[in-house]
């Protein structure tokens, strides 16, 4: 009796959770592959090239070929490197790109963990991203890597502050820290309209958080020959890359939930509402991922002092100001939720 209880009470839920996790992680890995292919195609189109077109029809199997290549190559660990940390860094990076998805609601009930403080959880996860980079840079025992890591630490901490304030305004508007409730609060009006300035700040800060152009100074091929990744090869490098892409998709997903109404259709009218929420969510996320790609194909890299100036002297005061304005307006006009 006790034994059967044990199986029912502990092992079954455990297996279920593992199943859920796989159901989230596998599609994400797949979309990472697709996004990496799509990016190259989009950049190619922007630059009047063809992009990958050899492996498979339209080069569709290119990501698989790349994966196989990296998988078969040797992992090189520099002799002066701190072995444990050197190998730990990409793992941290990769897993952080995945664990954020635990609280993302793909649809009203399609969420692994519907926790009270979902948005704080996401913020915490994104604030940890810096560790992967800084540990990689330090453990590599290489000057380029270290410089890249230091830049990245300063950069990510700086932009996190404004992201924090952006989150605060969304919280004010939604009146909850639960992601599903935030989405529900946008039934009437998606937040990117009333909170337009914060949406812009969020998008730009998200670029800085993910070290994407125009804020890819930690990598900066032209000056740091790859920055913190310079000593990495084969699978360890792939983990970094996959983590980066998973992070981009994650931050796009967060933007969709916070500002673009998550799984809600654009208008609450019949043909649109019968489309499953997950379709809307994925559609919106894809648009934002495209935006990331578009930016990378368009803008040159920022100079470091300009980057810091933008973060501390423009975004921080602006977002702080907007928090005050939002809170004041909501209090004044009685728009406060609940």
């Amino acid at each position: 009796m006790a034994e059967s209880n044990f199986w029912l009470d502990y092992i079954l839920p455990l297996l279920l959770i593992v199943g859920y996790i796989l159901a989230i992680v596998v599609p994400i890995m797949l979309s990472v592959a697709i996004v990496s292919y799509a990016e190259r195609k989009i950049w190619a189109a922007m630059q009047w090239r063809k992009g990958p077109n050899v492996v498979g029809p339209f080069g569709l199997f290119q990501p698989l070929a790349d994966g196989a290549k990296f998988f078969l190559k040797e992992t090189i660990i520099p002799s002066g490197a701190n072995r444990v940390l050197f190998l730990l860094a990409p793992v941290i990076m990769f897993s952080l790109g995945l664990i954020g998805w635990a609280v993302i609601p793909f649809d009203q009930h399609l969420v692994l963990a519907d926790i009270n403080v979902g948005i704080l959880y996401l913020f915490a996860v994104s604030s940890l991203g810096v560790y992967g980079i800084i540990i990689a840079g330090w453990a590599s025992n290489s000057r380029y890597a270290f410089l890249g890591a230091l830049r990245s630490a300063a950069q990510m901490v700086s932009y996190e502050v404004s992201i924090g304030f952006v989150l605060v305004t969304v919280l004010l508007a939604a009146g909850s820290l639960n992601l599903n409730e935030i989405v529900e609060a946008q039934k009437g009006l998606w937040f990117f309209i009333p909170l337009a300035p914060m949406f812009v700040i969020y998008l730009i800060s998200a670029l800085a958080e993910t070290n994407r152009t125009p804020f890819d100074l930690p990598e900066a091929e032209t000056e740091l020959v790859g920055g913190y990744q310079v000593e990495y090869s084969s699978m360890s490098w792939v983990l970094f890359m996959m983590g980066e892409y998973a992070n981009i998709i994650l931050l796009s997903g967060i933007a969709v939930i916070l500002f673009l109404g998550g799984w809600l259709p654009p208008f609450q009218v019949e043909p649109l509402t019968s489309v499953p929420g997950i379709v809307w969510f994925l559609l919106k996320t894809s648009v934002l991922v495209f935006f990331f790609t578009w930016t990378k194909g368009t803008f040159p890299r920022y100079r470091y002092d300009q980057l810091m100036r933008l973060g501390w002297k423009v975004f921080l005061p602006a977002s702080l100001f907007w928090v005050v304005v939002t809170a004041g307006a909501m209090h004044l006009f009685g728009w406060l939720p609940k």
Binding site: Y10, L85, I115, N116, V117, L120, Y121, F123, A124, S127, L128, V130, Y131, I134, I135, W138, F146, A149, L150, A153, A154, M156, V157, E160, G164, L177, D305, Q306, R309
Partner: protein, 209 residues
């Protein structure tokens, strides 16, 4: 229940072990990383207690910001590890003896039962039941009403700390060329660009004033 107990002990053991490692590890960078581990497992303990807000804030503030700066500084410092170790062992006997005496005293006091006096089981701010009020709301409610004075005063303390950091370290260096974006934007192309129609084989002449 069993699982919660196991998880509690895992987190507790990891916290304590990481705390010990912070002190004894040879490399300061490792110390900071162990500190982060300790923060993490403390956050886990908070979650077990149902204080999810505190857990997240602990990670965001301490792991996401404070420890990054620690790591940042420690990595850039040139610390002579062997010298530090020498100091450690030099003071270990004295420090150890003092520590042991203090510990023994505390144990004696608390084990002798002298401290075992039943006091009114009051707490300054009783926790509301978790199923009625989420703990984010409960914290906000008490922080911005009952402890508003302390909240504001803590803000003043932070302001002073900020002023202090600026007063003691900020130097306006002379001879640094600064970017003035307003000037750059205000510049009119007409004043600074001159279009020359250059005939082939003649070259451009440039009049300097």
């Amino acid at each position: 229940m069993i699982i919660e107990t196991i998880v509690f002990y895992v987190f507790a053991v990891v916290t304590v072990a990481a705390g010990v490692m912070v002190v004894v590890s040879r490399n300061p960078v490792h110390s900071v990383l162990f500190l982060i581990l300790a923060f993490f497992s403390s956050a886990g303990l908070f979650v077990l207690m149902g204080a999810e807000f505190l857990a997240m804030v602990l990670i965001i503030v301490y792991v996401g910001a404070v420890a990054v700066l620690f790591l940042f500084v420690v990595m850039m410092l040139d610390i002579n590890f062997s010298e530090l170790r020498a100091g450690f062992f030099q003071y270990l006997p004295v420090g150890g003896v003092v520590g042991v005496i203090l510990l023994a005293e505390l144990i004696l006091v608390f084990a002798s039962g002298a401290a075992d006096i039943t006091l009114p089981k009051t707490v300054a701010s009783p926790t509301p039941p978790a199923d009625v009020v989420s703990n984010t709301e409960a914290l906000g409610n008490i922080l911005y009403t009952r402890y508003a004075y302390l909240f504001q005063a803590a803000g003043l303390v932070l302001l002073v700390a900020m002023i202090g950091a600026i007063v003691l370290t900020h130097r306006r260096r002379v001879g640094v060329r600064r970017q003035r974006i307003a000037d750059q934007v205000a510049r009119d192309p007409k004043d600074v660009i001159e279009l020359k129609d250059v005939k082939p084989g003649e070259g451009a002449s440039w009049k300097s004033d």
